[in-house]
Amino acid sequence: MRMLEHVYLIPLIPLVASFIILLAAPEDPHSPMPLVGIAAIGWCLIQSVAIFYGAVIGSIHIPYQMDWSWFSFGATIGGKPFLYDMPIGVLIDGAAVVMLVVVCLVSFLVQVYSLGYMHGDPHFKRYYAYLSFFTAAMLGLVVSSNLLVTFCCWELVGFSSYILIGFWFERAEPAYAAKKAFITTKLGDLGLYVALLLIFSLVGSFQIPQIAQFVAQGYMPAGAATAIGLGLLCGAAGKSAQFPLFIWLPDAMEGPTPVSALIHAATMVAAGIYLVAKCYFIYAASPIAMFAVAWAGALTALLAATMAVVCYDIKRVLAFSTVSQLGFMMCALGCWGYTAGLFHLTTHAAFKALLFLCAGSVIHAVHTNDMRQMGNLSKKMPFTALATFVGTCAITGIPFLSGWYSKDMILEQVYEYDPHLFFILALSAVLTAFYMFRLVFLTFTGTERDLERYRHAHESPWTMTVPLGILAALSIFSGAYLSHNHLFERLVHFDPPAGLMPRMNVAPPGLGGIVFAAVACAILFSYRLYGRHDFRLAEDLKRRLAPVFNLLERRYYLDDSFLALVDLGDRTAKMAFWIDSEVIDRIFVDGWDLLAQLAAQLGQLFDALFIDRMVDETGGLSVSVGGALRWLIRRGMIQEYLLWTAAVLSTLAFLIAWR
């Protein structure tokens, strides 16, 4: 119990570490400062594991909540003004306990791994500062009891993602990718922002328990719940790279690979899933929002899996695979599979981090991302190859590995809720098996296609392989451990309010067996296409299905749509500025001129009429009009000034006299 009293230190210590690293020492490729970051996150890891253990054996009572006053501002809810005391605090429930372990563990391993991977980088120290900052923000997101604080941390992890993707900013691509990632997620965040506004305007609080209570007592109108749910989904779709906002994630692979493993595979992209889980009570109150979550997830899972099939960049394949797996989780959440979704999140964190770190190890060895230039690397780096194989088996769902437990749970849950979704997910699972084994075959077996690179390839140093080993062990055993005696389910579960249980189909026995059979076929097919030395069949297939391949390689034209959208924004901006400088400014600046000219025209007209009556024969109308025109536009004439003065004065005199 005492442990939880200081749980607020878990986000704070990496934060402090980050600032110490950034400010306390000069930039140096061999700076010892990273050890500070590793020590900080190591401490957090120990704490989190202890909390997890305590929660498992029951010595820690969850949910645990603790709040401190932060600041206060006046607010009005339903016409009643009051001083809202904004709290900042921690809320540790089962999901948070699990997430703490996941984040701390992956973060710790990635930081150790980076010692080898980023060795000698000119901004070595700054890299660790950024990583620590990210970890702090992510942990803050996990433990926060206040939805607004969660949102703040949410934005901050986005910011860390921005600076880490753009870490090698000297090249143009990472800079562009960083910007794209931030803006795309921001687009989703708009929905989240509005959802927060809506929540506050209804509930008058950002505290998650209070909002939950508000919903539970039935005060929340169904329409509002739907709107909030959809808004949250928008945010989650941005952060967790769901359809159609997943376009930023493949580009984000421009960042250093450990960053991809930490942020864009294991933790940050899971934040969207976690947010939906955290606000699950709102979805429970709105079937429409729930439905949207399920379908968004299923669509994402399928689309991303198909795109991964044609991709040759090793990191992008993994990125698409991440998107696809996140779709699985989202879909599970949308089918009342709260436990299943978070379970998959947990196991996925382990094996996806593993896969990314393996990819990093490969890239570190051959200095390319392109799988067509690899091949037969298992000879050179057997440990990495083995680890990759383990990860691949886990993600594919080979029985008794971690992925099998969680994926099976999801598929069963989804079948019970809606068989259509089940078929989509099953198809995605089959595709997953295909493209993951394709990755393994292309990279580690067959013939070496680029001899130069092959010759330089080598196994990575121990700082990199040890984290691989730990993650591989976790990928194998964590599923079994967590599902033993329903350990995970006891820890992480959601009790729907009475009378709100949805319709349920009964999953036929042997469902998992059928799916596994299909998966096995996919693996064999993959072996047939890519496992041997010649790829003629694959090339042949590609030629026959050219339009499909083209569509997939262009990523369903979503990137182009994004560019078109940006272009549209640019055009709108240009138009707005044109209006500003050519219309509005003109109206006000040239307006006076215009008015003066108008007056002049009127005067000219008047003169013409006036003179028409008065003019003598010799003068003539034209001369007078011309003269009038001339005196209207001449400048510098004393008598003209005199005339105006006299005119004004005489008019004044006239007005005074005849008042």
């Binding site: 932060w70 600041f71 090249r171 305007s201 940006v566």
Partner: protein, 486 residues
């Protein structure tokens, strides 16, 4: 002599001393200017500890007759609405004066006008008599005209005269409004506090008419669409420090006027105008952001982003809730700090490269890491990253406006996206990517610039993490103000 009078007129003393100094003693001129504005800053900072946060009444009041025959008073006082702005004014002026130490020509006149400008700005926020208010309001015009017109860029004359004409036209209407309420009140008075009490006896049509007159005066200053076109030009042509003060303080005078005078004195007129005000706010937010996105000149971009941010203030006010008012005041302070920093930073790079064209740079982060870090921080603060000051003001404005204007608020959230887009694009083009070889000898920020920037950056971070000190100042007053419509 009351503390507020001392704060307000200390810069005037400085200006007079500078006037007496010979032209050649440039160093003494600078020292006197810094000393006086610094003293003013310290005194106004000291008020922070004596300021009563529990009451909505005016504090540190000083009142004496000025022109008794028409009942004009010398009447100063502050509350939670004006005190943060006074603090902002003294801080930003001091910072700007530090930033102006690199002015080379006509130093004596420059600092003289700058101190006079500070007197005007402080007076506007402190005065509680409409005539006094108007006098100070007009006082700010003249120094600004000269500061832009003499020390400005290539089109300085045009910019200065445009600025002058716009604001003058606006304030003429305001004068009409002041006279109208004077003759409407009985007994005739310019006392703002009395006028704030006497509106229930004024009929709606009168309030609407007078509201429009005041609004014209304030809207030009805010600047609210469509009276905003003087702003980008004035900013682009003005010297750095003047831009800082212009964005950080002078724009706030408009919002302050709307909150203090238009809203408090003419609630029925305000209520009538509310639907239009919210539309103007939304236009300011989205249109300002879009215009900023179309810019290639960094300074102009920041100038348009100011229009965008003032839109948040207007939106908060239009929400007519205590949250919205808090948000508007907080946003004023935060925007002052952040945009001040942004203008200073743009000035830094302009001093070195003599260009502000976004496309002319590239990859500077490798060359000037401190500068890049500060600029990124300011940009992210401006686009509303949580943990930096800009976020809270925006959030409270949105929260405040949302219950009444759900659709408009929802639409204006798009402004956040556009703001993000143009700031990130600027960061990408200027600092990231391959280094433009032309700038390979660029120097990082020096000590003087750092001195000017650090207070702003520190406050931005501090208020971003812990906005309580600022909000505590505001809460009581805005709570009282929002009670007007109960």
């Amino acid at each position: 002599m009351n503390i507020l009078s001392i704060i307000t007129f200390l810069p005037l003393v400085g200006a007079l001393v500078i006037l007496a100094l010979p032209k050649e003693k440039e160093r003494s001129v600078q020292i006197v200017a810094l000393l006086c504005s610094g003293l003013s800053l310290i005194l106004s900072g000291a008020l922070f500890f004596f300021f009563n946060r529990q009451t909505a009444d005016m504090q540190f009041v000083e009142r004496m007759p000025w022109i008794p025959s028409i009942n004009v008073q010398y009447f100063l006082g502050v509350d939670g609405l004006s005190y943060p702005l006074i603090l902002l004014t003294t801080l930003m002026t001091f910072v700007s004066l530090i930033a102006s130490l690199n002015i080379k020509n006509r130093i004596k006149e420059y600092f003289f006008w700058f101190l006079i400008l500070e007197v005007g700005m402080l007076g506007v926020f402190a005065s509680l008599d409409l005539v006094l208010f108007y006098v100070f309001w007009e006082i700010t015009l003249v120094p600004m005209y000269f500061l832009i017109g003499i020390w400005g860029g290539p089109k300085k004359e045009y910019a200065a005269i445009k600025f002058f004409l716009y604001t003058l036209t606006g304030s003429v209407f305001m004068l009409l409004g002041i006279l109208a309420v004077y003759f409407k009140s009985s007994p005739h008075t310019f006392d703002l506090l009395i006028l704030l009490q006497s509106h229930p006896t004024w009929e709606r049509s009168f309030q609407i008419l007078i509201f429009l007159a005041f609004y014209l005066g304030f809207a030009v200053k805010v600047p609210a669409f469509p009276f905003h076109t003087w702003l980008p030009l004035a900013h682009v042509e003005a010297p750095t420090a003047v831009s800082v003060v212009l964005a950080a303080v002078l724009l706030k005078m408009g919002v302050y006027g709307i909150m203090r005078v238009s809203y408090g004195m003419l609630p029925l007129g305000f209520q009538w105008f509310l639907p239009y005000l919210v539309i103007i706010a939304v236009i300011n937010i989205i249109y300002g952001a879009l215009c900023a996105m179309a810019q290639t000149d960094m300074k102009k971009m920041v100038a348009y982003s100011s229009i965008n941010h003032m839109g948040y203030c207007l939106l908060g006010i239009a929400g007519l809730t205590v949250t919205g008012f808090s948000g508007a005041v907080l946003e004023m302070v935060n925007h002052g700090l952040i945009t001040g920093a942004l203008f200073l930073l743009v000035g830094v790079i302009y001093d070195r490269t003599h260009t502000r064209d976004i496309g002319a740079f590239g990859g500077l982060a490798a060359k000037v890491p401190v500068y890049a870090g500060l600029m990124s921080l300011a940009c992210f603060a401006s686009l509303g990253l949580p943990g930096l000051a800009g976020f809270w003001g925006e959030l409270l404005c949105f929260i405040g406006a949302f219950p009444r204007w759900k659709l408009y608020t929802g639409v204006s959230v798009i402004g956040l996206l556009v703001t993000t887009a143009f700031f990130l694009r600027m960061l990408e083009k200027v600092f990231l990517g391959p280094l433009n070889e032309k700038w390979k000898d660029l120097a990082d920020v020096d000590a003087r610039e750092l001195c000017a920037l650090l207070p702003l950056v520190a406050l931005t971070i501090y208020l971003g993490i812990y906005p309580k000190p600022a909000l505590d100042l505001i809460n009581a007053t805005v709570g009282h103000m929002a009670g007007l419509f109960k």
